[in-house]
Amino acid sequence: MTRASRIIASIVAVVLLGGAAAAFAVVWRPAIAAVEPPAPQAFDAALVKRGRELAAIGNCNNCHTAGGGRNFAGGLPVPTPFGTIFSSNITPDPETGIGRWSEAAFQRAMRSGVDREGRHLYPTFPYDHFTNVSDEDDRALYAFLMTRQPVRAPARENQLSFPFNQRLAIAGWKLLFLRHGTYQPDPKQSAEWNRGAYLVEGLAHCGACHTPRNALGAERNSAQFSGGDVDNWHAYALNDQSHAPVPWDADALFAYLRDGWHRDHGTARGPMAEVVENLSSVPSSDVRAIAVYMAGISGAPTPDRKRQDEATLEANASDKASSASQSNAAGASIYAAACASCHASGRPLPYGGINLALSTAIASPDPRNLANIVLSGVQAVEGESSPIMPGFAASMTDTQVSALLSYLRARFSNQPAWSGVDKIVQDARRARTASLLTSPAPRNVSADPQQREKP
């Protein structure tokens, strides 16, 4: 072998060995010793209370509680492009939950996505956000979780195909996409803004739904808050790509996150309803901080959109009404007969049906949310004042739903017509049917968490 080629070979060997070592270092994580399950009384009550609030901001219960299951005992199926992942049991059960996890183990899971035994966790658990949570907040969350009722519920097998079922692959994912470091405050911004940024980028993990993902399932940082998907719902763009007819501001966001609805924007539906339900138990100041930060994300509305206040929208709507009716008589008649009695009745919101000219669902490029709502309606919440809308899946054919959706788009938005509405309606109907067959109404967990108790 020539000297050059020997050098090259050595360099290659070093690189390979180094790479392997590095890879090994990344892939392999040590187990952290199991501890005796800490006594609930050992935790300071104020710390537990803070942990409860943080858990609400983090929406832990919604993933870690299955329909019909016990609180935090896991088992919720989360569909991903790679297969179905089941959430884990985070009750302090010693055998099947996190009862034997030390605080350090818990923090490592939040920070780096590694469980006590050293296995990599799938990023369905959004540790790419939770890595930003501070030490003291992790401590509070740990205190909260360790004082929950232990539930014996063994983990369900994930349904992933090769190579995704190899946890080593996650190591590679982390290498590419997991950025560490506690969130750094921006001194140019207010304390409130910074608090909001800390929560949004961290625990609240808004981007996990509202940011589009790449082919490997990681958030595309260059398109942060440009909109994403969850459960056949579209999580709207929250940045300058927003299609909300009335631009969001901090006050509107605060009211919406607090109460679950806003007169200019509608009510929180689908998975967002669960988020808002949790936020109702969180200190106002935190909700306000989130609102302030997200208002910054939406940016100041362009002069164009600024002019679109409700009165203008109303005026536009009636102008558009006649042209929309002419081109789509069927949709117009369906709207007049089935929808207008509630949506144009002038009854007080949120119970009288939102003014459709204000609906982001109609203004959004993706008609899926509107299709979901028209088909399934809005169900009553047990014992709480909340909107009820009948679903039209049983009384409207796909053709009728499509005609209606197209009409609503033409009449109540300035946007170009949707395409592919027929298929979207079919898919929405199928997804709905599937979910109705597989998930009976939960009987002894929190009632479908959607709305407030006061009108």
Binding site: A337, A338, A394, R443
Partner: protein, 165 residues
Amino acid sequence: MMTLKVNGREHQVDADPDTPLLYVLRDDIKLNAAKFGCGLGQCGACTVIVDGKAVLSCVTPMILLEGKQVTTLEGLGTIAEPAPIQRAFMEEQAAQCGYCIAGMMMRAQALLQRNSKPTDEQIRAELEPHLCRCGTHMRILRAVRRAARLMDTAEASPAAKGSIQ
């Protein structure tokens, strides 16, 4: 003038396309079972079956019913020849004031036509849109389970199951 097929018969109805089916059934065709409870799709008292699926007739305007088949409680059976669901409700005495019952029965009928052995959970979930103010819920559930058993018996002929389509 619109044609509406109800309980196997065609009716010529002089109603605007935006008229909810409920009023056509009650006022034009003079059927009693589907009831006005709220007119808002919140209580289920108006429930009938359209093309095999339970719908709230108070929020189903005529325009949606072109070419569809409507079945009301009257179409399932009579006192002399009751359908299984009607027999079940009579045998369980599943009514107090009875105002909500017709809607419940139609929803249950649609369920049983689709799923002849529903679990208790499934029955409860199915009846979620329905309100009963008298508190007859226990009997209603028993009556639906009884109807499932009646429909399931070997003697039940398709006609006796009570479904039209």
